[in-house]
Symmetry: C2
Subunit: 461 residues, 2 copies
């Protein structure tokens, strides 16, 4: 008999009495003398189904009743509607076959296991309710992002992972090589002989696809990247990973407002998508990780985000200065305490802070007329603070050159990037969203290691 996925039983439940065959893994196996229950999950949906098995129907009743957690089964039986139970139906087994046993040595037994312990077995933890929900949400959120941009005519672009080593942030980059570290080839004067390396030059892993995305936007109009990025940051906290995924949209003929409109629409779209498509997973997180989760997500999805200039935000924050660890003054970078105060206490909804001092922002951001600020904006959300950062890009060749000089950056290192301003330059804007940041926000999971299937963080894995 053809196997039926559990998801299709839930989507269109067959009539009472229908014969079905299902496969899956036991989340629990319970039994009393003559009747037993298996909570069976097959991964096709978050919800398991209850299998009822009886001694008078199954010759192998005793064998099944003794099976451990996560034994895999094939079950043929009768679908029974259960209108008075929590679940809409159960399956009364006619036959149960063990596909793969799972004995008492299985390390994930049905007791409360710490997240630290589970991190030591990343290959098994997707089988727990928490991680199963986390990785389902991860997959759905990724699809929602692709669909959002696709519907709006953005072209998905793959920017390179391997990059030259001569750009900003080199200190926190990983180097890639095929040379034997035990025996690094040397030139006559003792330097590393990169002509012997795979690319015949030093090569690092990308920290951002933005600059390449800008090149693509100058031909394709609206583009976005969605790929892994790498930071060799020596950080042991719960918010940084060495390998993480970024979404970096870049829009031609666009200004700061275009970026903010797009980022706001994207955030609401993804959250609404998850509320609609992952109700069971979000209910789980709401119950076990963050009682205010769904309420907060609904607030974000239904708000018109506020917008306030950095200068005005500083004035607003000063009124609460006594309560901040870091005192507020114009020119400073906002700390998480300031960001959260703005979005949670003052605006009580997401807010874009715009037009930051140029000294605390990147060289490529567009200078405002005041000579002091740049057309950058960070999106702050209740619960965590900054979720997205973006800016209008400096499209004027002379202004960009002057800024490079001012910062002591070498023009020749940015030659191809400057070409984008030399040849048919147009105003454009873009932003960056750390995918794991978003996932922590929508699940309430507090540690980045727990929203990545196989996390890679400082110190080892």
């Amino acid at each position: 008999m053809q196997r039926t996925e559990l998801v299709s039983l839930y989507k269109a439940t067959p009539a009472d009495g229908t014969k079905v065959t299902v496969c899956g893994w036991a989340k629990t196996v319970r039994d009393s003398k003559n009747i037993g229950f298996i909570s069976l999950s097959d991964g096709s949906c978050y919800k398991p189904v209850q299998i009822v098995f009886q001694a008078d129907k199954l010759a192998n009743y005793a064998e099944i009743a003794k099976c451990g957690l996560y034994t895999s089964f094939e079950v043929t039986g009768t679908l029974v509607l259960t209108p008075n139970a929590k679940q809409p139906f159960e399956i009364n087994a006619d036959a149960i076959t063990v596909l793969g046993p799972c004995g008492p040595e299985y390390p994930l037994q049905k007791k409360k296991m710490g997240m630290d312990y589970l991190r030591t077995m990343t290959h098994l933890r997707p089988r727990t309710n928490t991680f199963n929900a986390a990785f389902r949400v991860r997959g759905q959120a990724a699809f929602a992002i692709h669909q959002f941009f696709h519907e709006r005519g953005f072209t998905y672009v793959h920017t390179p992972i391997f990059t030259g080593s001569d750009c900003e942030g080199a200190g926190e980059m990983f180097q890639v090589t095929t040379m034997d570290l035990n025996d690094i080839p040397r030139t006559e004067d003792g330097a590393v002989d990169y002509t012997k390396d795979f690319f015949k030059r030093p090569v690092n892993l990308t920290v951002s696809g933005q600059l390449e995305a800008e090149a693509m936007a100058m031909a394709l109009g609206n583009v976005y990247t969605f790929g892994p990025t790498f930071r060799a940051e020596k950080s042991y906290d719960t918010r940084h990973a060495a390998e993480f995924w970024m979404i970096e949209p870049e829009m031609a003929f666009a200004d700061l407002n275009t970026y903010m409109d797009t980022a706001e629409a994207m955030t609401k779209y993804v959250i609404r998508y998850l509320l609609d498509n992952c109700p069971d997973e979000l209910a789980f997180f709401n119950q076990f990780f963050d009682k205010g989760l769904i309420e907060r997500l609904e607030l974000v999805a239904n708000s018109d985000f506020a917008r306030v200039s950095y200068t005005d935000a500083i004035e607003l924050l000063k009124q609460n200065d006594a309560n901040f660890q870091y005192k507020v003054s114009w020119g400073m970078d906002l700390q998480t305490e300031h960001e959260r105060y703005l979005t949670e206490q003052i605006f009580k909804k997401p807010v874009f802070v715009t037009d930051y001092p140029k000294e605390i922002k990147a060289f490529y951001m567009r200078q405002n007329e005041d000579g002091k600020t740049v057309a950058a904006a960070d999106m702050l959300v209740p619960g965590i603070g900054e979720l997205i950062g973006g800016s209008q890009r400096e499209e004027r060749l002379d202004v960009l050159l002057a800024r490079l000089d001012e910062l002591g950056l070498r023009r020749e290192d940015y030659d191809w990037y400057l070409d984008l301003r030399r040849f048919g330059s147009v105003k454009h804007a873009g932003y960056g969203l750390g995918f794991e940041r978003l996932l922590m926000y929508v699940t309430g999971i507090p540690n980045i290691r727990d929203v990545i299937p196989f996390p890679r963080t400082c110190g080892g894995f």
Copy 2:
């Protein structure tokens, strides 16, 4: 006046006489004494729009007429329906502003440029018709793949880029480090001191996410990866890149037929999606790269793929042995000439070759009852040969252990992978599709360097 994207003019063309503002880059600027034409493109669709500008309407007529290729413009004018022309409408300009000039030093002038030359300026080549089409198709194909799996309930998973160094294929892997290559830390006995490296161990870049995808499938049922993979292969041909994107679906409760059914459906889905959504781009490739392209794609999209065992395929090929460079015998790996002969001459449509000798396939493939072959299958398509490879995985712990021993692989290196067979093992299957391989196939572009925005191949970039 609010700018209108060209794509929306093509999707729902406004009434004759409507005033519009458009922005874009000039693909060509032509003029005679009093009338000029700009072919304007804004990236929102592949098609440009024709701008007509006249000396008696524009004070800056002479300035505009002198503008070079890829100057960016803002144009306000009147939409004029042109039912007798090739294009359905044009825009008669009332005002044209130069947004960004583009002078004679622009390296991509309107003459036939070689692909080699264009590869030296990857940041500008998306502006050409060829690369613009290639990267539009790339984005659309990626979306089609996501949508295909999403519709079928597969969860998108991100497998890690950083991997331990102790698995198969290590010889062709890139190593990642934060140590100073000029001054590698050493232990007392002179070995590389990896405790000083970022992860405190040797780390490489992944060559495949399959094994991790299998772990995810044992909890989520059906999953797929879509991410970059890396091979440090010293290959200078047109088919290999050091950095490329792979799609690796993995399905629980699935056998070889499930894989073949899914791979066939996916291939047809993507091709149909591109035929429907990128008609202009495919028409371009059909005209300039491969006159048989669209016909071949239609054939694939409309065929029921054939299936033949390796053993039968060898017998069929032997009948043509005189014409092959590599002579045919049971046990050999099929060469491209054999694969193409099978799919192009014998079956005249895509064909799965199944049940290969175990000696030429990977350790994880499921052994058949005959003791000689494994449940693997390659999908061959007319024009190139192998497009997809996949297999049912060996789910039996004892058989897998015996195979590791037989091949001299160390059990301890696969300990976590073996756990998947120790605890609730189920039959499962999966496959791998090189995304660039697919793109070369659907565009007719013969060099992998030209379907990747910023290619990274052996010898440098």
